[in-house]
Amino acid sequence: MTILLLALRRLAASLPTLLVILAGLFLLLQLAPGDTVDALMAQMGGGDPATAEELRRYYGLDLPAAAQLARYLWRLVQLDLGQSAIYGKPVATVIAERLPVTLLLMGASLTLAFLGGTLLGILAARRIGHWPDTLISTLGLVFYATPSFWFGLMGIVLFAIRLGWLPAGGFEEVGAGYTGLIRILDIARHLVLPTLTLALVFLATYLRIMRASMLEVMSLDYVRTARAKGLGETGVIVRHALRNALLPMVTLVGLQAGTMLGGSVVVESVFALPGLGRLAYESVVQRDLNTLLGIVFVSALLVITVNFAVDLVYGRLDPRIAAGR
């Protein structure tokens, strides 16, 4: 009950931000040359201006921009994301078809980056100044400095083309008619490269934060207290340092949820994954305003949800936070 109340309060607090983002995006797209009808006409192979005018009237594109925006927001209040002119389906349906792919990709990448970053960070902090630390820190820098699309492309070249171990793109083997466990394994095989590509940059960030955080925590008084009790090194790390060191990491996950969504646009394009990111890219190209605004709306909700979950986790990890609420 309290959690529900908190969630609603958080959502209410985010509403102004959401409004500004939607309005800003709407106006920005007005500045771009061409509209949905131009893109549609181009798809049809051209047509006469009269048809174009009629189509514009049909989609309500002849109204002034302010009126269009007001109409969109009013529909949004009624939880109606509108129709996609390009796909000829409700935007909600289009997004619902694409969302699971993105969620799966993000979830897998986040888990990999978090676990990998935590482990490598601890390892580097324990061996600071020695070769494991140097190796891990250098690798982290390489991961961080390399653009993820390049990683993706090189992954395709090496593992898909040269070695032939993994598929080069797509979400699953289309038309193979796999079901059950075999289908799951097939999807997993397709997602290995995209997940790695998206995760590496974040893994590098997490690893650096975890290393720094671990170094700080290990120098604190209560770690000395734990040693004075006769606890061994592993015990000190697992029972006293780890949970304290994880606090900044958890904050970072919340902050980076949005960045990760942005990163998935690139990764989905490289690997031809039918996800939300690629949909966003296509909508921009085709001036599919309704779909684009819908995606922004859903993404914002997603980020808000992740942040809310992070706050809850934080409260669980740190009793001092829970008391202050």
Partner: protein
């Protein structure tokens, strides 16, 4: 336990501990030898940097990386701890040797329950069942006289007060009945009444269990209160060691004599002439409340009355001490007077002006007249500005030309006993006492009428503290200043204040001339405060007084 009668429990023989290259000296400890018998409390005293904490951590083998013993032995129950393996040390730590640390705020893991942290000691060293551990933990919390031990078992550290946390630490250190207890400044961060209770507790348990206690402290009052024997350290060397009564009252080494001479005795200063002057600063009914939480519902906010209806007056040219424990509202009151905080009600009359009624803008013009010196000499100076600029900044803000302001800063440096050539240095190049002098020069630069000093000497070593106090005293007379001196330390207050006001929970419980407050305290709380001052029976330089 091993046979205790055979030789000392702990014997440190010619111990040297090396510091990493680049430190201010090559050895943290140089050739230190001392011994501790079972059933004895040995106090190791020294100023900061004397190596006393390094000694404690060497016995425990908890030295930071890069710091290690390079000569000598530490024999504990006839085992050499310097040469012991790490596994052997782990078996001893927490079991045969317990340790208590200085900072109760940071020495406990904030994310785990107190009971769980005590129980961990049992889990590491014994094979007791969960229920037995729980019972033993509860018994320990009762033994350290924790109020409501069952609740403390489940409490997180942030839900406990400083004294309660220190009790948890003590319970943890005593869990397995160690033969040796090492206490590294265990009461330094505590209020004086809490400190008295914790010292009593340590002594009681030590007697009951016949432990040997290695007690590290910088405070001679604490030494007088608890020590059987005393070892005095200076810059890594052992200067003097002997029975407490002898060292405290008939110190042999010149360094010990100087240290003890710097300890302010718990006696009020002789009354000065001219302390009946008319008031320069008058507080009338000043209150300040803090609100927390509640949001849209102000009625649900938690309200803290930090200062409650305080009325005081400060005669011109005198020093008024405001004494109280943490949370008594004394710092909030100081901040209200210089208007870093806005009081809710009441008047603060400086001469003819009511400071409390001024707008922020008008206050900026009046700010010159009442200046503040802060507690922490390390945090209260901007680390990126040169000392001279820091002092000259105030006058320059008021339109004094730069050259003139710097010339004034130069004069002030001389006045507070600093070398004017040091004006171009950055704050980190000065020691704590020197920084406090810079803070003082900064406050004096705008020619204030009233100086508000918030715990100006509590972060300083005792010898430096004596110098700064003497400086404050002479400046008051030379510049005709009036001073509000906030402190938790009754010894310091007795040394410098003409009048004293005692605060508790935001209210003034007693106010009067220092001698009266000290010799005939009216309020029960004042009496409790005076009784709790460690080593109150010991008056430095008067050997006939019995040591406690």
């Amino acid at each position: 336990m091993m046979d205790r009668s055979a030789g000392p429990l702990l014997s440190v023989e010619n111990l040297s501990v090396r510091l990493p290259p680049g430190a201010d000296r090559s050895h943290a400890l140089a050739g230190v030898s001392l011994s501790l018998a079972a059933n004895e409390i040995l106090c190791v005293v020294g100023e900061s940097g004397s190596g006393k904490s390094v000694l404690a951590n060497t016995v425990m083998r908890l030295l930071p990386p890069g710091v290690s013993p390079d000569a000598g032995r530490v024999l504990f129950q006839r085992r050499d701890l310097v040469a012991a393996s790490e596994a052997e040390m782990r078996r001893l730590r927490g079991a045969a040797i317990g340790m208590i640390f200085q900072e109760p705020m940071t020495a406990l893991n904030p994310l785990r329950r107190a009971g769980d942290q005590i129980a961990e000691t049992f889990r590491i060293h014994t094979r007791l069942s969960a229920r037995e551990i729980r019972e033993k933990t509860l018994a320990l919390l009762t033994e350290v006289r924790m109020p409501d031990p069952a609740a403390a078992l489940r409490a997180y550290p942030h839900e406990l007060s400083g004294g309660q946390r220190q009790r948890v630490m003590i319970a943890m250190a005593l869990a397995l009945e160690p033969a040796l207890l090492i206490a590294d400044e265990p009461t330094t961060a505590l209020d004086v009444t809490t400190q008295g209770r914790i010292l009593g507790l340590i002594r009681d348990i030590q007697k009951r269990r016949g432990m040997g206690v290695l007690f590290i402290t910088h405070d001679f009052g604490v030494v007088a209160e608890i020590a059987d024997r005393v070892a005095v350290m200076q810059a890594g060397h052992l200067v003097e060691v002997g029975p407490a009564e002898g060292v405290l009252n008939r110190p042999q080494a010149p360094y010990t004599q100087a240290l003890i001479a710097a300890v302010p005795p718990l006696v009020p200063r002789a009354a000065r002439a001219g302390t009946a002057a008319p008031a320069i600063l008058t507080l009338d009914g000043v209150s300040k409340t803090y609100r927390k939480g509640g949001g849209l519902w102000p009625g649900r906010a938690r309200v803290t009355h930090a200062v409650k209806n305080v009325s005081l007056s400060l005669p011109r040219g005198t020093t008024l001490g405001i004494v109280g424990e943490s949370g008594s509202g004394k710092s909030t009151l100081a901040r209200c007077i210089v208007r870093l905080l806005d009081p809710d009600t009441g008047t603060i009359r400086l001469g003819d002006t009511d400071l409390a009624a001024l707008s922020r803008r008008a206050m900026r013009a009046e700010a010159r007249r009442v200046q503040m010196v802060f507690q922490d000499p390390f945090a209260s100076l901007n680390p990126r500005r040169r000392a001279g600029e820091l002092v000259a900044q105030g006058p320059m803000l008021r339109g004094v030309p730069r050259a003139e302001a710097l010339a004034k800063a130069r004069a002030l440096f001389t006045l507070v006993g600093l070398d004017p050539a040091a004006m171009d240095r950055l704050p980190h190049e000065f020691s704590g006492g020197q920084r406090q002098r810079i803070g003082l020069a900064r406050a004096l630069a705008v020619d204030p009428e009233v100086l508000v000093a918030d715990e100006p000497v509590s972060a300083l070593d005792v010898s430096v503290q004596a110098q700064v106090l003497a400086l404050l005293d002479s400046l008051r007379d030379r510049l005709g200043l009036s001073m509000l001196f906030i402190t938790h330390d009754l010894r310091v207050a007795g040394q410098i204040c003409d009048r004293i006001a005692v605060m508790k929970d935001g209210a003034v419980v007693e106010a009067g001339p220092t001698a009266e407050v000290f010799t005939a305290p009216q309020a029960a709380y004042t009496r409790a405060l005076l009784d709790a001052v460690p080593g109150r029976a010991w008056i430095p330089g008067r050997p006939h007084a019995p040591a406690a």
